[in-house]
């Protein structure tokens, strides 16, 4: 039994949530549906941990679907690079599933709850599949599995606010256009190379030299994925989708979906086009993505400062944080990529914690959380507030939190390759982000009226997952060696592949 599982781990992490989503869809009992989903995400997490051990001494696991060897068959590759996003998705997936039950029963029609869990597991399966696959077309299929189920999840927020429907619709249209752009790119690449396997593509592209079809293909693929990754200015769908989605969905999407798309940007630039890196990826990274990332840092932060709705505020801040991550990638140095992997992990922890504490406040007070309704809530909900403050300070990048570690490495990488002006811009935008963070903390804690109000009883099933996230924020802030070492191994592996 065990060798069989070990041998098939790369597919098991995708199949487990996929199969359980079918089982969950036909269940009538909501509690049972939740138990099954928790079990499925727990199993996925176990498989991922086993896979971590496998990868740590094999460094590269190649799995042939149906035993068809590539380039004919579909290949799944787990290496030191892809294990990082897989770990993010499965850990956050488990924590968010544990956290989800109370919110889904409150915010969604009772009849639809078990179907919601089905979509939920489908999203997780799609996201993990996106990371593991090494086949350019299979990637598109997983892209659509994850984004279509995510759209349906976002639209389920319509019981609370009808704007969720429009947000879901816009996400669908933009996402579908982005995915179709990606398919055009893949089609053109297939037309000139005759292969879809990423490793095989990387071998065949250099022989073509500076080919017009390949340039167009590269542009289409990058643009399509940039829509999914919400890189400024293609982020229009993101704030509303995160703000009006049911609470647990905001947590899951904010922490995982854009991260996975950014990972695909890395894969396209450094794996598929890594062999002819100088011709295609380098210029697009250094001359386009770098400046878009800087714009995103400021645009997201400034939008967040003027935003009143707290969930939307966090979504705008996500746009800015995606800017930081893309900035690291676009520096095109080993330290730069490592810093963006560090921030990829850290931002998943930070945003999951922030969204979880904010939606928990919304759950206790049964109100939409905006800058006015939060007044004094911190005193009523001390545990939730405590976790919120830790994650918020981590977002700002205070020492002893994970946010500090990633800012440190990002600034170092920026200084090495661009000189003093880029670290300066990063520091300015971090300082600006303190404005909205302080606005929230001040609103939550300092309010005269709140002194008279009694404390609200906090539920352990909500605050325990939240405390785990807050603890991880502190733990990796004090001892970040695990994150840093693995990020540097990943970035070195990526940089060794390029020519």
């Amino acid at each position: 039994m065990m060798p069989f599982i070990i041998k098939n781990l790369p597919i098991l992490i995708v199949i487990t949530p996929l199969m359980f989503s079918l089982i969950v869809a036909v269940l009538n009992n909501n509690r049972l549906a939740w138990t099954f989903s928790t079990f499925a995400s727990f199993l996925t997490m176990i498989f991922t941990i086993l896979l971590c051990f496998e990868v740590s001494y094999k460094s590269n696991i190649s799995y042939y679907l149906g035993n068809w060897p590539p380039p004919l068959g579909i290949e799944y590759v787990i290496d030191r690079i892809s294990i990082i996003p897989i770990m993010i998705v499965s850990v956050i997936g488990l924590i968010a599933t544990l956290f989800a039950h109370n919110f889904f029963t409150l915010e969604i029609d009772e009849k639809l709850v078990s179907k919601t869990y089905s979509l939920w597991l489908l999203t997780i399966a799609g996201l993990i599949g996106l990371i593991t696959t090494a086949d350019a077309f299979n990637l598109f299929v997983f892209l659509e599995i994850s984004s279509l189920s995510a759209v349906a999840l976002v639209a389920l927020g319509s019981k609370v606010d009808r704007k969720a429907l429009v947000a879901g619709y816009n996400y669908l249209i933009l996402g579908a256009v982005g995915a179709t752009f990606y398919v055009i790119g893949v089609g053109l690449l297939y037309g000139v190379t005759g292969t879809l396997n990423m490793g095989d593509l990387a071998q065949k592209i250099p022989a073509l030299g500076l080919n017009k079809s390949v340039i167009v293909a590269f542009t289409f693929m990058m643009l399509g994925i940039m829509v999914k990754a919400a890189v400024f200015p293609l982020h229009i769908w993101l704030p509303n989708a995160y703000a009006y989605a049911p609470s647990p969905v905001s947590v899951l999407l904010a922490a995982t979906s854009t991260k996975v798309s950014i990972y695909i940007i890395v894969r396209i630039s450094y794996t598929i086009f890594g062999s002819s890196y100088e011709i295609y990826s380098f210029e697009s990274l250094r001359y386009i993505l770098l400046y878009l990332a800087i714009l995103a840092m400021f645009a997201g932060t400034i939008m967040a400062i003027f935003e009143k709705d707290v969930k939307k505020l966090l979504a705008h801040s996500s746009v800015a944080q995606i800017g930081y991550i893309v900035l690291g990638i676009s520096l095109a140095t080993s330290t730069g990529i490592a810093s963006s992997f560090i921030h990829l992990i850290n931002h998943a922890l930070i945003k999951a914690g922030l969204f979880m504490s904010i939606v928990a406040m919304g759950y206790y007070t049964l109100k939409r959380i905006d800058v006015k309704t939060i007044a004094g809530l911190g005193r009523q909900l001390p545990i939730t507030f405590f976790s919120f403050v830790i994650c918020a300070l981590s977002l700002a990048g205070l020492p002893l939190t994970v946010g500090f570690i990633s800012k440190l490495y990002l600034i170092k990488a920026a200084y090495i390759s661009e000189g003093i002006w880029l670290p300066f811009l990063i520091l300015v935008s971090s300082a600006l982000s303190l404005i909205y963070i302080w606005k929230l903390i001040e609103g939550l804690w300092y309010n005269e009226k709140s002194l008279k109000i009694e404390k609200i009883k906090e539920l352990p099933e909500i605050y325990l997952p939240l405390l785990v996230i807050a603890f991880l924020n502190i733990y990796f802030g004090v001892d970040a060696s695990l994150i840093i070492d693995n990020s540097f191994i990943a970035s070195d592996a990526l940089m060794s592949g390029i020519k």
Partner: protein, 130 residues
């Protein structure tokens, strides 16, 4: 000149369909028309793939007595089968959302939807002030 237009006829059709689809998605206000535009846009990509795979005079890739038979590449067709399924799912989800939006707002015009949201926002604002 003639060769440039008619020799790559399929690609011209792909290009025209793609632009029509994308234009409809961007410019139309009706949510329903946007979905139609999206479907046209996706169809143009299907046609692009199939054009890659087709060889003039080639048959289906089935083993016959004649070993020198020219046959078309079957892979793009199979890929497009998958993409068509994805396209159908996208259209279905989009239409389902449009129905729900029509129920919630009483309209599927983008401008009227944002106007209705704005009215709701102002009413809530006035209520809060009281």
């Amino acid at each position: 000149m003639i060769d440039q237009i008619f020799g790559v006829w399929n690609y011209w059709i792909v290009f025209i369909l793609m632009m029509i689809g994308l234009y409809i998605v961007i410019s139309k206000k009706s949510l329903l028309k946007k979905i139609v535009g999206l479907a046209i846009f996706q169809t143009s990509v299907f046609l692009l793939y199939i054009t890659f795979g087709k060889i003039a005079g080639g048959t289906a890739p089935i083993l016959t007595d004649n070993l020198n038979e020219i046959y078309s590449n079957p892979l793009p067709h199979v890929l497009i089968l998958t993409a068509i399924v994805v396209g159908v799912a996208t259209t279905a989800l989009g239409l389902a959302l449009t129905v729900r939006i029509n129920k919630a707002y009483g309209t599927i015009n983008e401008d009227e939807i944002s106007a209705s949201d704005l009215v709701e926002y102002h009413e809530k604002y006035l209520e809060d002030k009281k």
